[in-house]
C-alpha cells in the first residue's frame, strides 16, 4: 500500500484510483508515497482509520458509489488530486519535497531513485546535478506561479540580450520568461515549417549563432522540405562550437531562420558525444524548463502526462542530444491537415 493520505493516514494500494477523488475518509487531497516496507509496519501500528483496501474491487466499488453522491466536489477535486498523485507517488520526491514523510521514505527512496517507473523525476535528479544550488528555485519554474523564479536561471538560459545585465527584470514573472524561451524555440519550429525563404541579410555571427542551435539532426524527421543548403552554409560555424547553450538566437524576434533546415535524414554534424561539456547540464536544464518529457537516453523517454496535459506549448521534436523543439498547439494543428 504505497500511498497514504497525509491528513488521516489512510493508505491505498499502488494503482488505486480511490485517491483520485480525494480521500474517501477525510476528503483530503494530499497523498504521499509510502514504500511497501515502511507502510506495512506503519499501517499495522495505526490501524484505526485505515479501512482495508487491499485492492479488492468490491470495496472500491462501494466507495466509488458513495462518492458519486457529491459528484460536484469530487470532479473538481479529481484533477487536483491526480496532479498531487503524479508528484507524490514518486518515492524520491517525497524524501525531499514532503516534509512529513522525510524520515520514513528516505531509505527506500535512495535505493529506488535510479529505477525506471516513476511518473516524473523531481528533486532527486536535480539535487544530484551540478547546479543543485538553484534547483529549488528552478524546479518551480515549470509549473508553479512563483514569479521570482526566473531570476535564478543560469546565464545561459537567458537570451543573450539579458545575460550580462546585473539585475535581470524581476517583474517579468512567469509568462514573460516562458515566452522568451518558448519563442526562441518557436523559431526553430516555424523554420522547419516554412523552409522556403532564405534570409540573406544576416551577418556571419548571426548565422553561426543560429546554426549552432539548429543543427541538422535537430529537426524533426518530418521536416517538410529538406534544404540542401544546410550542409554548406549552416555547418561552417557549427562544427567548432558544440556549446550550443551559449549560442541561442540573438533575440526572440529575429527573423526566423530557414537556411538551417536540414535534410530529414543523414547526419552532418558530429554525433552527440560525451565530450560535449554541457550535455548533461543542458539536458537537466531543459528538463527543468519542460518537465513534461525527460530524455533518459536516446530512444528512452519518460513522460509526465499531467504536465503534457496541462501545458500550452508542446514539444514537437525531441533530439537525441537533449534538445527540444517546441511549438504551441495552434500552429501544429494547422499543419496537421
Amino acid at each position: 500500500m504505497p500511498h497514504q493520505c497525509t491528513n488521516c493516514d489512510r493508505t491505498f494500494p499502488d494503482g488505486s484510483k480511490e485517491m483520485l477523488s480525494g480521500c474517501p475518509d477525510c476528503g483530503g487531497n494530499k497523498f504521499q508515497f509510502a514504500p511497501a516496507g515502511a507502510v506495512s509496519e506503519r499501517s499495522a501500528g495505526t490501524g484505526s482509520n485505515s479501512r482495508d483496501t487491499d485492492s479488492n474491487g468490491r470495496e472500491q466499488r462501494s466507495i466509488m458509489a458513495d462518492e458519486n453522491d457529491d459528484s460536484d466536489g469530487t470532479v473538481s477535486r479529481a484533477a487536483e488530486t491526480v496532479r498531487d498523485w503524479v508528484s507524490s507517488s514518486d518515492p524520491s520526491t517525497d524524501s525531499t519535497s514532503s516534509s512529513s514523510s522525510d524520515s520514513r521514505s528516505k531509505p527506500t527512496a535512495d535505493s529506488n531513485s535510479p529505477a525506471g517507473n516513476r511518473p516524473w523525476p523531481d528533486a532527486d535528479d536535480r539535487a544530484s546535478s551540478s547546479h543543485s544550488s538553484t534547483d529549488d528555485d528552478r524546479r518551480t519554474g515549470g509549473s508553479a506561479d512563483d514569479s521570482t523564479t526566473f531570476e535564478e536561471w543560469p546565464e545561459t538560459a537567458r537570451p543573450p540580450a539579458d545575460r550580462s545585465e546585473p539585475d535581470p527584470p524581476r517583474t517579468a514573472g512567469r509568462s514573460t520568461a516562458s515566452e522568451t524561451t518558448a519563442s526562441s524555440s518557436e523559431e526553430h519550429s516555424s523554420a522547419t515549417r516554412r523552409s522556403v525563404t532564405i534570409d540573406d541579410d544576416e551577418d556571419t555571427a548571426q548565422a553561426d549563432a543560429r546554426s549552432a542551435v539548429v543543427s541538422p539532426d535537430d529537426l524533426p524527421a518530418s521536416a517538410p522540405e529538406p534544404s540542401e543548403r544546410t550542409e554548406s552554409d549552416g555547418e561552417d560555424g557549427a562544427d567548432g562550437t558544440p556549446d550550443s547553450e551559449d549560442a541561442r538566437p540573438p533575440a526572440p524576434d529575429t527573423e526566423p531562420t530557414t537556411e538551417t533546415v536540414p535534410p530529414d535524414h543523414g547526419r552532418v554534424v558530429s554525433e552527440p558525444s560525451g565530450d560535449r561539456p554541457s550535455l548533461d547540464e543542458l539536458r537537466d536544464e531543459l528538463n527543468d524548463q519542460f518537465e513534461s518529457i525527460k530524455i533518459v537516453s536516446p530512444g528512452q523517454y519518460e513522460l509526465n502526462l499531467m504536465e503534457l496535459y496541462d501545458r500550452e506549448e508542446y514539444i514537437v521534436s525531441l533530439q537525441e542530444d537533449g534538445r527540444y523543439v517546441i511549438d504551441v498547439p495552434d500552429s501544429w494543428r494547422d499543419s496537421d491537415d
Binding site: A79, V82, P119, L308
Partner: protein
C-alpha cells in the same frame, strides 16, 4: 444534380451544424499502446465509411500521430449519429526503444521511440482541447489498473467528458472483462473484439447512445 443542388445541400448542411445538434462530436479513441485503438478505429470506419484510418501492428506505438476520420455516420434504430473519430497514439509514461529492437534495427527503434513520445504529447493535447467524448480502449487480457489508465480516466472525468470503456480483445483466452468492470465501475464497459468484429452491435448502440 447541378451545381445549385450541391450548393443547397452544403448550405443546409452548414446550417444544420450551426443550428441543430447535428454537429459531429469528435470522439477520441484513447488507451495504452497496443490496446487495439487503431484496429477499432479501422473497424468503425470500415463499417460505416468503407475506408480505414491507419495501419495496425502488433508492435506497440504503430500510431504515432493522431489520425482523424470525419463524418462517420452510424445508424442505430433508424436514427443517424455522426461523429468524427480521432485515433490517438497510445499513451504511456515510458517509451523505450529496446522494446522494438527485436522487430527492427536500433536506429529505427530509436526513431520509433522518439516519434511515439511525441505522439503521446499530441494525444494529451487532443485530450485537453479537441475531443468531445472518449472511447477508452483497454486490452482485456491485461491488468487494467495502471498508472496511465487511472490518470487518463481521472483527467477525462475531471473534464466531464462522456466516456465509454471498451474491453477489447475478448477473443483472447486470458481476456477478463470483469477485471475491467471492477476497475472502473463508474463507467460503462463494453466488451468487444475489434479484430474479430465481435459484439460490434453493442458497440455501436453504445456509441450512438453516449455520443449521439
Amino acid at each position: 444534380m447541378g451545381l445549385f443542388t450541391e450548393l443547397k445541400d452544403s448550405i443546409s448542411r452548414a446550417t444544420d451544424r450551426l443550428f441543430s445538434e447535428q454537429e459531429p462530436k469528435r470522439i477520441g479513441i484513447y488507451g495504452p499502446p497496443n490496446a487495439g485503438k487503431t484496429t477499432l478505429a479501422n473497424r468503425i470506419a470500415r463499417d460505416w465509411t468503407g475506408d480505414a484510418v491507419g495501419a495496425e501492428s502488433h508492435i506497440p506505438h504503430e500510431t504515432r500521430r493522431a489520425r482523424r476520420k470525419e463524418d462517420v455516420e452510424i445508424e442505430r434504430n433508424g436514427k443517424t449519429v455522426t461523429i468524427d473519430i480521432v485515433d490517438t497514439p497510445g499513451v504511456t509514461t515510458k517509451v523505450d526503444y529496446e522494446e522494438f529492437t527485436d522487430e527492427m534495427d536500433k536506429d529505427d527503434a530509436v526513431r520509433r521511440s522518439r516519434e511515439a513520445t511525441e505522439g503521446v504529447a499530441e494525444a494529451m493535447h487532443w485530450l485537453r482541447e479537441d475531443v468531445d467524448g472518449v472511447i477508452y480502449v483497454l486490452d482485456s487480457a491485461e491488468d487494467p489498473i495502471t498508472q496511465v489508465n487511472t490518470m487518463l480516466i481521472g483527467i477525462i472525468e475531471s473534464r466531464d467528458l462522456p466516456v465509454l470503456i471498451f474491453a477489447n480483445k475478448i477473443d483472447l483466452d486470458e481476456s477478463s472483462v470483469k477485471r475491467i468492470e471492477d476497475a472502473f465501475p463508474q463507467h460503462k464497459t463494453v466488451p468487444l473484439s475489434a479484430k474479430e468484429g465481435e459484439n460490434m452491435d453493442e458497440v455501436y448502440d453504445n456509441i450512438a447512445e453516449y455520443f449521439g
